[in-house]
């Protein structure tokens, strides 16, 4: 009971802090937080597949990109469309793509799944470059209108955009967290650990994989859509490129696969490192590579795992039994 109340207090403090964040820290850091939130939702969508179902996808960027392109196209071509329906259309595009792909991809797993997505992701990237009548080719779609809920345009008011983005991304995060607590979420963990056993228990493994796959695409679409609105630009390299597929994987690995809040921590660390590096050197690739190598070799459970072992060490040292043994 006590712990629950403490949790509520922490949540309230966190929400108040986020609510007054733009007033306290100014536009620059507000935008940093929006970027972090977008990538947090995106990484959580990857972790939904990777951590909870054990499916590693090298092509999550296609859902991210479809979300962005869907929203941008809707805002460009449908006059007077509101911002929420536009986001909805983008998410719908991502979900539609996932539905089309799901019968094919749920039959494979492991390396084949990863490579299949690498290929499909590449296909979407090439198509986005080639179909320049629709996608604008290499330039992408830029300068589309960004209407607000209450105002004409959000372009000149990043503060309003912050609130809109944070509410949408916050709800997405909460939904994903809620999902892991449902029986359905537990079945996903079961599939990751032992697909055959879940099959014998009477659950349909390919079908539940398909559902999680589509859900993951949905949230990647949300992130991509907000990302497109945030930059007012959707381009093949910025939203669909192979780098965009790997960024969330890196965040998930840094934070810790499988733990729900790990990816969020990973995004925070990754974004901070990225910010700092860009001040000194151009080559983020090198740093990302080194981070990946170090994480895999020395802390395979990520920072979340590192914290967990540290906490265990500290808490065991405090117990009298441990002291007795030492003495």
């Amino acid at each position: 009971m006590m712990k629950n109340k403490l949790n509520v207090v922490w949540w309230v403090i966190g929400l108040v802090f986020l609510a007054f964040f733009p007033k306290l820290f100014g536009i620059y850091y507000t935008n940093v937080v929006v970027t972090m939130a977008i990538f947090a939702v995106y990484s959580l969508s990857v972790n939904m597949l990777l951590g909870y179902t054990g499916l590693l996808s090298f092509g999550q960027a296609m859902f991210f990109g479809f979300g962005g392109y869907g929203t941008a196209l809707a805002l460009t071509h449908i006059p007077g469309i509101g911002v929420l329906p536009a986001i909805g259309l983008g998410v719908l595009a991502a979900v539609a793509l996932a539905l089309i792909l799901s019968p094919l991809v749920v039959r494979v797993s492991g390396t084949a799944f990863a490579m299949l997505h690498l290929a499909f992701g590449q296909l979407m990237y090439v198509l986005a470059l080639k179909l320049y009548n629709i996608t604008g080719g290499e330039d992408g779609i830029a300068n589309f209108p960004v209407p607000g809920l209450f105002t004409e345009s959000l372009k000149s008011s990043p503060e309003h955009f912050y609130y809109l983005a944070m509410v949408i991304l916050g709800i997405s995060t909460w939904l994903m967290w809620y999902m892991t607590k449902t029986p359905f979420g537990q079945i996903q963990v079961g599939i990751r650990d032992n697909a055959k056993r879940i099959d014998y228990l009477g659950y349909r493994v390919p079908q539940s994989k398909a559902v999680i796959y589509v859900l993951s695409a949905l949230f990647a679409g949300v992130a991509g859509s907000v990302y497109g609105l945030f930059h007012n630009l959707v381009s093949a390299d910025g939203s669909l490129g192979i780098g965009m597929s790997f960024t969330p994987i890196i965040s998930v690995m840094i934070g810790g696969v499988g733990s729900f809040f790990g990816p969020i921590l990973g995004v925070a660390i990754f974004q901070l490192v990225d910010e700092l590096i860009l001040r000194y050197t151009e080559s983020t690739e090198l740093v990302m590579g080194v981070i990946l190598i170090v994480v895999v070799m020395f802390m395979p459970t990520g920072f979340m795992g590192l914290f967990r072992t540290l906490r265990q060490k500290i808490s065991t040292r405090r117990t009298p039994e441990a002291k007795k043994e030492k003495a």
Partner: protein, 288 residues
């Protein structure tokens, strides 16, 4: 001969030459995967690195043949070092995939740092730079040389795998590595050797393609992605599958460029999607 027909034939040989290069990369990936269960994401980075090594060797000695000899060897040594130092430490498939991905990032970044991002031209040797006339079709000698080189490597690989004791051990390790280990064979040494041969083949492909496409940092993405698609479509661990699919893809890409130039890269992925829809483990893949 009718110019149209001769053009089709020369496009066909073009396709086969490209397919052969794909095969060199894909078979290296394939034997590593077949034996160690590791999908080496850094494979294409090694492939590109060999092209740069060759550029350096040719720059120093002025001799392409020395480049062809030494660049793949350097690459293989680096591959072995990577396997010994890093890959042994990785845990599970996920760890291996991500670790090799990280290494490929580092290699690409290092290449950009050392040699810059522009295309570096590589002169092919005098002997191979001419054109040859075969039954009325004039054709660049170099591409025929590439086809020949790949065929020689294929024969060499088959002999090594099916006619030597080492090949027997490798094949046994593909089907059950623990058992081979238990029989008193130093499996780690065999792994190291296989990894070296795999990266050596990637290096050879890198050197072979360098005079055609020039040397630039996008090489790994451009050709490497095709090689990965070949392995997935042909079936993991199947040399025959890699060979057949490489040639199909080579032809698809050369005729694709001719007829539907905009969408040539799409053709391969569509082909792969169709194959995987019916055979999830690839054309010649065995069930996991």
């Amino acid at each position: 001969m009718d110019p149209m027909v001769s053009m089709y034939i020369s496009q066909g040989i073009h396709g086969i030459a490209y397919g052969m290069i794909l095969f060199l990369i894909a078979s290296g990936l394939n034997i590593i995967f077949g034996m160690m269960g590791i999908l080496n994401m850094a494979h294409t980075a090694f492939f590109m690195l060999a092209a740069y090594f060759c550029y350096v060797v040719v720059g120093i000695t002025g001799n392409f043949w020395l480049g062809l000899l030494f660049a793949p060897l350097f690459t293989a040594v680096l591959g072995v070092v990577m396997e010994r130092v890093f890959l042994r430490k990785a845990v599970g498939h996920m760890g291996e995939l991500i670790l090799t991905m990280g290494i490929s990032f580092v290699i690409v970044a290092a290449i950009k740092k050392i040699w810059g991002t522009e295309s570096l031209p590589l002169q092919m040797p005098e002997v191979l730079s001419g054109m040859v006339n075969i039954v009325g079709v004039t054709y660049p000698v170099y591409r025929l040389f590439v086809i020949g080189l790949a065929l020689v490597i294929l024969v060499f690989m088959l002999l090594l795998l099916y006619r030597t004791r080492l090949g027997k051990i490798v094949r046994a390790a593909v089907s059950d590595r623990d058992m081979v280990n238990a029989l008193g064979i130093n499996i780690n040494l065999v792994f190291m050797f296989v990894f070296g041969v795999g990266t050596w083949m990637a290096g050879l492909a890198g050197v072979a393609i360098a005079p055609i496409l020039t040397v630039f940092p996008g090489l790994a993405d451009q050709v490497g992605m095709d090689a990965f698609i070949v392995v997935v479509t042909g079936g993991f661990g199947s040399l025959l599958g890699a060979f057949i699919v490489s040639i199909i893809f080579g032809l698809l890409s050369s005729y694709g460029v001719q007829f539907v130039s905009q969408f040539a890269p799409v053709l391969m992925v569509v082909f792969m999607a169709i194959v995987l829809a019916f055979r999830p483990n690839g054309l010649f893949g065995v069930k996991e």
